[in-house]
Amino acid sequence: MEPLFLFSLASRHAQWASVRQAAISGNIANANTPGFKAADVEPFTAVLDKTHLSMNLTSARHMDVANAGAPTTKVSKAEGWDVNHSGNTVSLEQEMLKADEVNRAFSLNTNVVRSFQRMMLASVKT
């Protein structure tokens, strides 16, 4: 396994965690909006499975498939813990739990990247 693979994977995971944090933020901001449906980002493994190789453009006449290799993170309507009278499905407790989960995943991610970089530096220095 080449080392650069891990860095690109880690950066995509960080991107995914950031998008999820933004989605949770949107849910919490709309915790009192009538009829608002809570949204969530699909799990990282699903995002990872969906991505495919992008095609190279070697000629001016090749068509550029827009964002063929870009990570796709979609916000899907999730099943919330509770629904109130106005049809709002945001549960603050659930969102806090999710936010904490994201924070933990992000922390793990950055720490893995750091230790991996330290390993690489160590091998370079010897």
Binding site: Q21, S25, A29, N32, K74
Partner: protein, 142 residues
């Protein structure tokens, strides 16, 4: 919310900031209602202070590329006014009845509590987004 055009972490802070603003407006309106819980009219038979209401709505912020929240409208509660017998009041009508505001202080207090709770939740999101940015920056010094 399909593709975020800017850094999602900054978007997260921006969305939470919009939430903070909406909740603080709600808190302000609740305070206005409580402050005016006994504000009657000035002329005989005049309508007193009518309770204000806040309505939120989700809105797509194009600059942020994400859905935020905003105050859609400030309305007036159309609930009927209670009347009190107080002939000395300048707002008393011919039979000595004064219309009192339709503000229920207990309800306003509950509303304030809920607004405070949502405000805290938004604040927590800003803190977490900030700590995530800090973690990323900390990668530089290892």
């Amino acid at each position: 919310m399909s593709v975020l055009t800017i850094d999602p972490l900054r978007a997260a802070s921006g969305i939470a900031a919009a939430g903070l603003e909406a909740q603080s407006t709600r808190l302000r309106i609740a305070a206005e209602n409580v402050a005016n819980a006994r504000s009657t009219g000035n002329t005989p038979g005049a309508d007193p202070y009518a309770r204000k209401t806040v309505q939120f709505s989700a809105e797509l912020d194009r600059a942020l590329g994400a859905s935020t929240v905003r105050i859609k409208s400030l309305g007036r509660d159309r609930a009927p006014f209670q009347t009190e017998y107080d002939p000395g009041n300048p707002a008393a009508d011919a039979s000595g009845q004064v219309k009192m505001p339709n503000v229920n202080t207990l309800l306003e207090m509950a509303d304030m509590r809920e607004a405070g709770r949502s405000y805290e939740a938004n604040l927590q999101m800003i803190k977490q987004a900030r700590s995530m940015v800090a973690m990323t920056i900390d990668l530089l010094r290892s």
